[in-house]
Amino acid sequence: MNEDHPMEPRMPHPLPAVRRVAILGGNRIPFARSNTAYATASNQDMLTFTLQGLIDRYELHGERLGEVAAGAVIKHSRDFNLTRESVLSTTLAKETPAYDVQQACGTGLETTILVVNKIALGQIDVGIAGGVDTTSDAPIGVNEKMRKILLEANRGRSAGERVGALAKLRPGMLFKPLLPRNGEPRTGLSMGEHCELMAKRWNISREAQDVLAYESHRKLAEAYARGFVNDLMTPYRGLTRDNNLRQDLTLEKLASLKPAFDRDAGTLTAGNSTPLTDGASAVLLASEEWAARRGLPVLAYLSWSETAAVDFFDKKEGLLMAPAYAVPRMLARAGLRLQDFDFYEIHEAFAAQVLCTLAAWQDDEYCRTQLGLAEPPGSIDRSRLNVNGGSLATGHPFAATGGRIVAGLAKMLAQLDKSAGSARGLISICAAGGQGVVAILER
């Protein structure tokens, strides 16, 4: 009760209606294969630079945004507040809150969904979602035994206890550091080994994988030639395009590569799998009113999203099959069919992952027994798949892939000459731990 006006009752606001959330644009740095152009760039460097590029392009200097959400999959413990620290280094208002998210390769899309949801609920009006990863400037942990000894010494109450603990250190420990690895803790298998099992489960041929990889490079090269990437990217450290892109790639070259994860009976190679990559991306998201106030055109709206996870351990589902579950669930909620899309952006973690997912959606028995669907979603028009290239060509800095795809797809939808509300794109991203993050963009 306000004492100055005791007779005037306060009416609390009703909760706002859910709003459409607009994708206004994106920015990324060219992606670089591990230990190449960005070998000495940290996550902090790359994320700050990428955010600043977005801020410059949309003139957000001094603005207090609702929030910035980003993250990195491979992160040093000193970067506990990676995103907030990056925001403080940009020209955004220092009063812009920020937080880190980590959902493996789904991070970039998950941050987008989080910011979109807050805008949709009217909690904020504008925000940035992003992601960054480096496997070049990776954190290396000290040897596990050594770490325990150092912690024991740290706990010691007397000099004697500390010296006693430190006396257990051995020189060999220095040469056996704990390296980050791209493996599943529960199975001990690398992601590539898991995807090999999926490729065999779904009978995905080596030739089909190589063709998908070849197409990915060809389409990305064409996208660069058309200038499609120009307003989605800021050159960084001497790179103006993804250095994983092979303009001169041939199917013969791809066919000559040796299996990388299963040398005796495998089909996944360095050519049809994504390499370790460094890079960062960010997407500007806002309510329609905010965009209109700023005079910024809307590229597309994020309308639906879904995450799913599979039991790849006890039930032995394929590690990267979660998007196959997530998409039909989302389609059911949205009242759409798999064929109702102009573009499909399926993250090419491995060519086999994409092909397994597409095969699963055409398998009656699997759709009935595993996905619980009366009808399989069916096939897609492959000419609408990853039309400007995918992760096989761009590379895949884990947390940065989502932002690359969201911004790229939004622009593709904006370029379509279709009536309002009829252009649609589907995003599907698989992630470690048997997870999948998917979304629908509309315009």
Binding site: K200, R201, N203, A255, D264, A265, K316
Partner: protein, 311 residues
């Protein structure tokens, strides 16, 4: 469960009719010799001359072998099987393989083990297998068979679970250059014109060593070019049983088998490293004719047939 008819389909494999040697001497093998001792035994028996072509009436038995998932999974991986396949169809062969070596290096066996050719192999799964099953593995010689190049003979593997026959294997070996007796060895009839190319295989340089380490078959002709040269091969060659298992894993749907038969004849050696192509034709939903050929698709390395019923 229905009892299938002739495991290898009518007259295609009439040569497999077993001529039981009367009451073989049964020897229970409680502890297997190490592979090194087995191969030492093979080398010590390298000179055997002028023996009559008579196979010893001997049955070797491993009375209780647990079907361990660890070694089976390592084997599965090297051959392209996936967990969805369950126990690999060809894996029980390996439980009997040390007994095969003991049989072929037995002092009463008429020829040196070194130099024998593995001509063909037939596998029959009678009952679904599961990991941790406790199996009784029996191996004994079968009939002598006439072959153009010398004397062929059968080596039978019979595997039982609680007294019930669950898995059979028949291996056909050839001793070249000796006068032959017995029934004529009939070739497998496959309509090779109907076969379609299914896949290209890249054969890694270490394939022979990888398969040796998961199978225990350290025959030097598979391990390296140098060790293969010592036995008259210009390069190392792939294990026939790997080739067969790889073909079976490629063609089996991603489900465990209730029963199956797999027959194969080994043709030209498949050099390592190298490339090969898998060809197959579906005569029905549950039957495939198989060939493994060179990369050009011209010369056969293996010809076979697989039939199955899923669990």
């Amino acid at each position: 469960m229905e009892e299938p008819g002739d495991p290898f389909g009518g007259n295609r494999a009439s040569h497999l009719v077993q001529h039981e040697t009367a009451r073989p001497k049964t020897v229970v093998v409680e502890a297997l010799p190490t592979p090194a001792r087995l191969y030492a035994r093979a080398l010590s028996g390298i000179v055997k001359r002028g023996r009559p072509a008579q196979l010893p009436s001997l049955r070797l038995v491993r009375p209780a072998v647990a079907l361990e998932p660890g070694p089976a999974w390592r084997y599965a991986r090297a051959c392209g099987f996936i967990p969805e396949h369950g126990v690999p169809l060809t894996y029980p062969h390996l439980l009997a393989f040390p007994l095969h070596l003991l049989m072929l290096t037995d002092p009463a066996f008429p020829w040196p083990a070194v130099g024998l050719l593995h001509l063909a192999n037939h596998v029959r799964l009678r009952r679904p297998l599961a990991y941790q099953d406790l199996l009784r593995v029996e191996v004994q010689f079968g009939a002598l068979l006439r072959h153009d190049k010398g004397q062929a003979f059968l080596l039978h593997t019979r595997i039982y679970r609680r007294g019930e026959a669950v898995w059979d294997g028949d291996s056909v070996y050839l001793k070249r250059g000796v006068p032959a007796s017995g029934a004529q060895l009939e070739p497998l009839q496959v309509d090779t014109a109907a076969l379609q190319r299914v896949a290209r295989w890249q054969l890694a340089p270490q394939l022979g060593r990888d398969y040796a380490s998961v199978s225990g078959d350290y025959n030097p002709i598979h391990l390296s070019a140098l060790s293969a040269k010592a036995f008259g091969f210009p390069r190392a060659i792939a294990h026939g049983m790997w080739t067969l298992s790889r073909a079976a894993s490629s063609l089996q749907p991603p489900k465990p088998l209730a029963e199956a038969t797999l027959s194969a004849e080994f043709k030209l050696p498949m050099p390592l490293p190298g490339e090969a192509s898998l060809w197959s034709a579906a005569s029905s939903l549950i039957e495939r004719d198989i060939e493994v050929r060179d990369i050009a698709g011209e010369k056969p390395h293996l010809r076979g047939r697989m039939q199955w019923r899923l669990q």
